[in-house]
């Protein structure tokens, strides 16, 4: 469970005050709002990529608001995938495990398990530069899930995809939701994303939760 309590973020002219919401374990929550309303900023604060001014972030009871991003155990799927361009697909998928000093055969097993789950087995030894948008997002998902994170953050993961690819990704995300029982926060401005995926919708307007 993730609880955001009285979160305030200040950056230049842009301020967010007293953000409060809660995401129950196993729920897929969609955070909606217009471009520039601060929804990505909130996500970055949860991930630890942005300093918070005050407030608490509780992940399963533990206050993570002062932890480094590397210590938070939160998976991250950014908008454009941001796959590691200097590595091939399997190195991307296994990256978090390599950092955790898993043994090679353990990493290989986990990578092939993820590839099965995401339907990307045929891509494993490919370079990043040749991948399609949908393939990139699948790999980004797998990379973020590899280390069994307690929570998953998705930042507009489908916004750059064409309609048919989007529908495939909806199917995949619904399948992951069911099979892995993931707790997730999905930031988007798309009503369709929210309608199809969300267990709960949080809307943000003018820096406030409504």
């Amino acid at each position: 469970m993730l609880a955001v309590k009285n979160l305030s973020i200040r950056q230049g002219d842009f301020n967010l005050h007293d953000i409060n919401f809660q995401i129950e374990k196993g729920k897929y929550v969609v955070l909606m709002g217009k471009t520039g309303c601060g929804k990505t900023t909130i996500m970055e604060a949860i991930l630890g990529l942005r300093k918070i001014h005050s407030g608490e972030l509780l992940l399963n009871g533990l206050d993570i608001s002062r932890l480094k991003p590397s210590e938070r155990m939160i998976g991250y799927v950014p908008q454009d995938g941001a796959l590691f361009s200097s590595m091939d697909v399997q190195s991307n998928l296994g990256f978090a495990l390599r950092i955790r000093k898993w043994k090679k055969d353990q990493i290989a097993a986990r990578v092939s398990e993820l590839a099965d789950l995401l339907g990307v087995d045929y891509l494993l030894s490919r370079k990043i530069s040749g991948l399609s948008g949908g393939e990139r997002q699948r790999i980004a998902l797998g990379r973020g899930l590899a280390f069994y994170p307690e929570f998953l953050c998705l930042d507009e993961p489908l916004s750059a995809l064409d309609e048919p690819t989007r529908d495939e990704m909806y199917e995949l995300l619904l399948k992951l939701k069911k099979e892995l029982n993931i707790t997730a926060l999905h930031v988007t401005h798309s009503k369709k994303d929210a309608k199809i995926l969300a267990d709960q919708i949080i809307k943000i307007e003018d820096g406030k939760i409504v």
Binding site: L47, G48, L49, K68, P69, S70, R72, I74, G75, Y76, P78, D80, A82, L83, F84, S85, S86, F95, A96, I99, R100, R143, G144, A146, F147
Partner: protein, 279 residues
């Protein structure tokens, strides 16, 4: 709006201006400069013969200068990269008070007249800390001073290039790496640095080429002693001052070819900053 809707007076009257006079002027202006560059190279090449170059290469002094130039330029290039990579990283990935001032300071060696850099170095080594260093290792008028003089200028170009390189790389990949368990150092080595290969190559070549052509600071800070602190630009200067133009041109050609080699490397790998290729 179709033509029928236009007022009567506009029909058939408007003739757009022709393009060729504009393009002709632009073309003439730019080709003048290109002609000058090519003309210079051509003149150098036809002034001397392969015999002259070979003869120049046989001279012990010139062999020494060539060797010293190659060694010092390479050392300078490596030092410049060692400094430019962390500097560029900090200047592009972090915000802190006084950053604009530091950024301006990093440009000083580029805008300062070369002779002034040499003189300033000479004075620096007359101060108390400078004298302390000199009392342990002799710097002024030695080979070390050649490297320092080259480094002071070349490094500024390497820093600029690395700044451009890092700022063109979105930090998103590094941020993802942090969430996956990386420290900042790991994200730098494993994610960011592999993406900067071409930038590093460009920065290195640029530093090397700058170092090869450096003359003013070396003349002041290292002197122009044959078989000691003589690098190729010093040779050109010394040969010219005794009226041996052939040898001066021959040595110049050696430097031109070396410079061309570097330029090829930069054009081939460098897709950044002011060396951006046209396509």
């Amino acid at each position: 709006m179709n033509k029928g809707d236009l007022p009567e007076r506009e029909k058939g009257k408007f003739r757009p201006k022709r393009n060729w006079p504009f393009l002709l002027v632009m073309g003439i202006i730019s080709s003048t400069y290109i002609l000058l560059i090519v003309g210079m190279m051509y003149a150098d090449l036809t002034f001397t013969t392969p015999g002259h170059i070979l003869e120049a290469l046989k001279s012990e002094e010139i062999q020494y200068a060539t060797k010293l130039s190659l060694i010092t330029c390479t050392v300078t290039m490596l030092l410049s990269l060692v400094v430019a990579i962390p500097t560029g990283y900090i200047m592009t990935r972090y915000d802190f008070p006084g950053k604009r001032l530091l950024d301006a300071i990093l440009d000083i060696p580029i805008i300062l007249p070369p002779l002034v850099i040499g003189l300033s170095l000479l004075i620096l080594f007359q101060t108390a800390p400078g004298k302390f260093i000199e009392s342990h290792v002799r710097i002024t008028y030695t080979v070390y001073s050649v490297v320092i003089a080259q480094f002071m200028v070349a490094c500024a170009f390497a820093v600029r290039t690395m700044n451009v390189t890092f700022s063109q790389i979105n930090s998103r990949q590094e941020e993802v790496a942090l969430t996956l368990g990386c420290s900042k150092g790991q994200a730098f080595w494993m994610i960011l640095l592999p993406q900067t290969k071409n930038g590093i190559l460009t920065a290195g070549s640029l530093a090397w080429a700058r170092a090869l052509g450096e003359f003013g600071p070396i003349l002041v800070f290292s002197g122009a002693t044959r078989m000691r602190t003589e690098v190729l630009p010093t040779t050109v200067f010394l040969e010219m001052s005794v009226g041996n133009i052939e040898a001066a041109v021959a040595v110049s050609l050696i430097m031109i070819f070396a410079g061309f080699g570097v330029l090829m490397v930069v054009r081939y790998f460098g897709n950044i900053g002011f060396f951006k290729t046209i396509d």
